[in-house]
């Protein structure tokens, strides 16, 4: 392994870690504007992380090692995922590889560690959120794998570098496949980042929380790590959207440019959806996700029926 690889991996890690909190920040700021409020600055998440870092933590009575280890475990899983999803170093080989299935596994690991932490506290609200989160994850993971199969059709590969290369340019946008993949993945983004209409990240009303629920008992540095993790989910999902599921150019500089333009644009779009859509009823969400899976399957069939090179 050459020093170049280590350097690019470090850059990748640093860029992702530093930039991730900006994404929810932009969404918050734009959303406030759209609702006619002055709202916070896009840099607000950084201020919050800084504030939390200097506060002391809280341990609920009766909780044990699992509760204490969950935030570092969830965070390190997300850090690994940030390294694996190439934002700046897509042509280098990272020591962790560039495999999308590994990213799915790491997201599941983060989800699991928070859910068992909820059991450790025994808090009803945390458990309610965890059980809903894990239930939706069943549908989301099924849909995500179907979408991955969809974009892997031309190259038979789950390597993100290869996927970015084969999906670059405007070829394929004449067929239904790419549109179906984009539509289904859009729903995956909404579910994984916990945005409306599936979840409301701003709510602290106990009965409606999904992703926020298991975070309820945490404070101080623990909460800071978990809030960064939530931001990192935005980073991973939106980078994948821009670099694979949307039309994009190939080449280091162009790719970086498309990220710089694409990421804020997607944040604005998410803010628009949040302003325009109310949170769904809990039991209506599976129907939405089921529709996403159907879209992915339809796209798959068109590939075999229609224009195959």
């Amino acid at each position: 392994m050459t020093p170049d690889v280590w350097l690019s991996t470090l850059v990748e890690l640093a860029a992702g870690t530093a930039a991730a909190p900006l994404l929810p920040g932009i969404i918050q700021a734009v959303k406030a504007r759209l609702q006619g409020r002055p709202g916070p600055s896009p840099l607000q998440p950084y201020r919050e992380l800084n504030r939390l870092w200097h506060k002391s933590t809280v341990d609920p009575e009766g909780s044990g090692a699992v509760y204490r280890l969950a935030p570092p475990l969830a965070t390190v899983a997300l850090l690994a995922a940030v390294v694996i999803v190439p934002a700046t170093s897509f042509e280098e080989v990272s020591p962790l590889g560039h495999d999308v299935l590994v990213v799915v596994g790491l997201l599941a690991l983060a989800r699991f560690s928070l859910a068992v932490a909820a059991w450790d506290t025994g808090s009803g609200f945390a458990l309610m959120g965890a059980s809903r989160d894990l239930t939706f994850a069943v549908l989301v993971e099924g849909m995500l794998l179907a979408v991955v199969a969809l974009v892997a059709l031309p190259s038979h590969s789950t390597d993100l570098g290869t996927l970015m290369a084969t999906t670059s340019g405007l070829a394929g946008w004449g067929g239904a496949l790419r549109w179906c993949a984009l539509g289904a993945f859009g729903l995956v983004v909404l579910a994984e980042t916990g945005r409306q209409p599936i979840d409301n990240p701003d709510t602290h009303l106990e009965l409606t929380m999904i992703h926020e629920g298991p975070l309820l008992e945490y404070a101080g540095r623990d909460l800071a790590m978990l809030q960064w993790s939530a931001a990192a989910r935005h980073w991973i999902m939106l980078v994948l959207t821009v670099e694979i599921f949307l039309p994009h150019a190939r080449g280091a500089l162009l790719q970086l440019l498309s990220l710089l333009i694409g990421l804020p644009l997607w944040c604005v779009l998410l803010a628009l959806i949040e302003t325009w859509q109310a949170k769904m009823r809990l039991l209506a969400v599976p129907r939405l996700l089921g529709a996403g899976t159907a879209i992915a399957l339809a796209g798959f069939v068109t590939w075999f029926i229609g224009a195959r090179p």
């Binding site: 009575e61 808090s123 609200f125 458990l127 059980s131 099924g142 059709l153 038979h156 599976p286 992915a296």
Partner: protein, 653 residues
């Protein structure tokens, strides 16, 4: 020659261990007997590993004749190694728990005999030996259950077990005898010249026969009944190994199946596998008893193995030998991984049972604090079975997903669409397993103790712990070096040999990569760094936020509460039955009783009608057994005439 001596010594030691307990009327020889079995199993497993690693096969290859013959080739060697990996910790568990308990002598003897029977199936090289050991392997666990349980319900469960596996077992006999008839036992590609319908018929017979024993849905009815009531080390052996021996049989007799009918059989395997995956994990989720829940997870994992095998068939029919070999490797890797973590989980459940008694999920809790070693190992096993990185379950699920992805993107639509559905289904299964084991870990290990016995539970004894810790370590190690095993496993596939580099991770050119060791290193180092960064942790204790309400025991979260969103989601599939009884006194509500129950639909919709039809048929047939001599003579005469007619027409040779 050394190998032969080693195998015979090992088998002799296990046999000695089976006889030794009966030398005394007390439990005096139980411990030495178990030690002899441990030693013997280790020797056989070590030699199995050596053959798997490539030191050369022992004995003869599988042959069509009926004369007894034995031998070990790399495939058998791999399963012998797996057998040893599960058996040694299970015997350690027996060593720590059996002496002094009821039926200790019989159980220790039966354990040895059971291990020998499974070894016999694995090393048999002809039909007679194979079928003899196969039947023995079915009967011995039934005996063990009857030795440890005397109740009427246990007898009924054993009856169901024997009835289902014997009825399904007919498929094994039919398939094997038919293959022997066409000289295709050692190599099914000899069937290539035969009619396609015949190939499919034999393949389906093998699928039904071995599938029943492996616990594939809908042939699984015996598994969740028999596994939970067996003594815990027997449960570990049954779930960890016996159902894998059925997988061995399926692979042994279908490896290199002629391409013409392989795609169809592959799709059949995918269908059964997907049903087992999703059905197994869904029914596991709604169980309230730990061992029963684990038994349903065995159905799920056999389903995952079947998915790997099915896509291997499909890719083979499509001429993609590299990915067919990798799909087979995925199935075999998951076989070993499941043996490791399921053995661990059943032995852990057995330890909890010994410490606190009943394993009702809603009345456990807090065991990680009381039993840190057992609980820690159980936690690792849970994460491994849930398919979370960096443990071994993720490695084999990753490879299975990759193989399915290739089946879905690289074959014609008629096989690609079922494979894609299987792919999405397997991803959903993995997420469901995470949900299920979050629940298990939470209810068993974490939170406050929900029963007096849990607050005073004692850590397991040393030999039990040694086995548990060894298996938990294997979960990490096998998750760290899957590439080394895969590189060897792909060479078991028939046809032109596939070569992969011996790396710790799995890296196949032109597709994804799973750098297992680097991932583990990153997670450990990064996690440690974050814990250090958090260093000044001045945590203030505070009550859990419950809107100020005191949390009483009935308000605590239960197994049913945690899975409620999923049950609501799956209501059309699971069809739960609910009843609410409200007692009123005038306008005042005096009491409300709520009851909910999810029936096992396979029992009510599939097995019950079949049993009813069989009984009706038997009632009808009873008329023949009238005792009237004339009726018997007429039946026999009719039969003879029919056979003569068949012979005359040349339909029988």
């Amino acid at each position: 020659m050394t190998g032969l001596v080693a195998m015979i010594t090992g088998a002799a030691l296990v046999a000695l261990g089976s006889g030794l307990p009966y030398l005394s009327r007390t439990d005096r020889y139980v411990k030495p007997a178990l030690w002899a079995q441990i030693l013997g199993t280790t020797v056989m497993g070590a030699w199995g590993a050596a053959v798997f690693a490539g030191v050369g096969t022992l004995g003869v290859p599988f042959r069509d004749s009926f004369d007894p013959a034995v031998g070990v080739d790399p495939l058998s060697g791999f399963f012998l190694l797996t057998l040893a990996i599960v058996t040694v910790p299970a015997l350690g568990f027996a060593l720590g728990t059996l002496p002094g308990s009821r039926g200790a002598r019989s159980l220790s003897a039966l354990t040895g005999a059971f291990v020998l029977a499974m070894t016999g199936v694995l090393v048999a090289r002809d039909v007679t030996t194979f079928l003899a050991f196969w039947e023995l392997m079915t009967i011995l666990p039934a005996t063990a259950i009857l030795v440890s349980h005397h109740g009427r319900s246990a007898r009924h469960d054993v009856y169901v077990y024997l009835a289902t596996t014997h009825l399904g077992g007919v498929g094994v006999w039919v398939a094997l005898l038919a293959l022997a008839r066409f000289h295709a036992l050692g190599d099914p590609s000899a069937l290539a010249g035969r009619a396609e319908a015949l190939q499919i018929a034999i393949g389906l017979a093998a699928l039904i026969g071995f599938g029943t024993k492996a616990g594939l849905m809908p042939l699984h009815a015996w598994l969740p009944r028999a596994h939970p009531i067996a003594p815990s080390h027997f449960s570990a052996l049954m779930s960890g190994m016996m159902i894998k021996v059925a997988i061995y049989g399926l692979i042994r007799f279908t490896l290199g199946w002629p391409a013409r009918s392989a795609a169809l059989l592959g799709v059949a395997l995918l269908a059964l596998g997907l049903l087992s995956c999703l059905g197994g994990v869904l029914y596991a989720l709604i169980q309230h008893e730990l061992k029963r829940l684990l038994a349903f997870h065995s159905v799920e994992n056999v389903g995952i193995i079947a998915l790997g095998l099915g896509v291997a068939f499909i890719l083979n029919a499509n001429g993609d030998h590299l990915w067919a070999a990798l799909a087979l490797a995925a199935a075999l890797l998951h076989t070993m991984n499941h043996a490791v973590f399921k053995g661990l989980l059943f032995l852990g459940a057995g330890s909890f049972h010994n410490a606190v008694g009943k394993l009702d999920l809603d009345h456990l809790g807090g065991l990680l604090r009381r039993m840190p070693w057992t609980g820690g190992a159980f936690l690792i096993g849970s994460m491994a079975i849930a398919g979370l990185p960096p443990f071994n379950g993720f490695a084999s699920e990753w490879l299975t997903l990759e193989a399915l992805l290739h089946g879905a993107t690289d074959t014609p639509l008629r096989t690609a669409l079922p494979t894609l559905i299987a792919l999405a289904g397997l991803a959903g299964t993995a997420a469901l397993a995470v949900l299920c084991f979050t629940k298990v870990v939470g209810l068993v290990l974490l939170g406050p103790p929900r029963r007096e016995a849990c607050a005073t539970a004692q850590e397991s004894s040393r030999p039990v712990l040694a086995g548990l810790v060894a298996l938990a370590t294997l979960c990490v190690v096998l998750g760290c070096i899957p590439g080394i095993l895969v590189a060897r496993l792909v060479s078991l596939a028939p046809g032109s040999p596939v070569r992969l580099p011996m790396t710790s991770g799995i890296d196949i050119t032109g597709t994804g990569s799973f750098p297992a060791a680097a991932l583990l290193a990153f997670l450990v180092a990064g996690g440690a760094l974050l814990v250090l960064l958090r260093s000044r942790r001045s945590a203030a204790p505070a009550p859990v936020w419950t809107c100020g309400q005191p949390v009483e025991a009935p308000l605590r979260w239960t197994s049913a509460a945690f899975t409620k969103p999923l049950r609501l989601l799956m209501e059309p599939v699971l069809k739960p039955e609910r009843s609410v009884a409200i007692e009123r006194n005038g306008v005042l509500v005096e009491s409300v009783a709520y009851e909910s129950h999810t029936p096992h639909l396979f029992d009510t919709l599939l097995y019950r009608p079949v049993v009813r039809a069989a009984l009706a048929w038997a009632t009808f047939l009873r008329r023949v057994q009238s005792g009237s001599l004339r009726a018997y003579i007429a039946t026999l005469l009719g039969l003879v005439i029919a056979l003569l007619a068949l012979a005359r027409l040349g339909l029988m040779r």
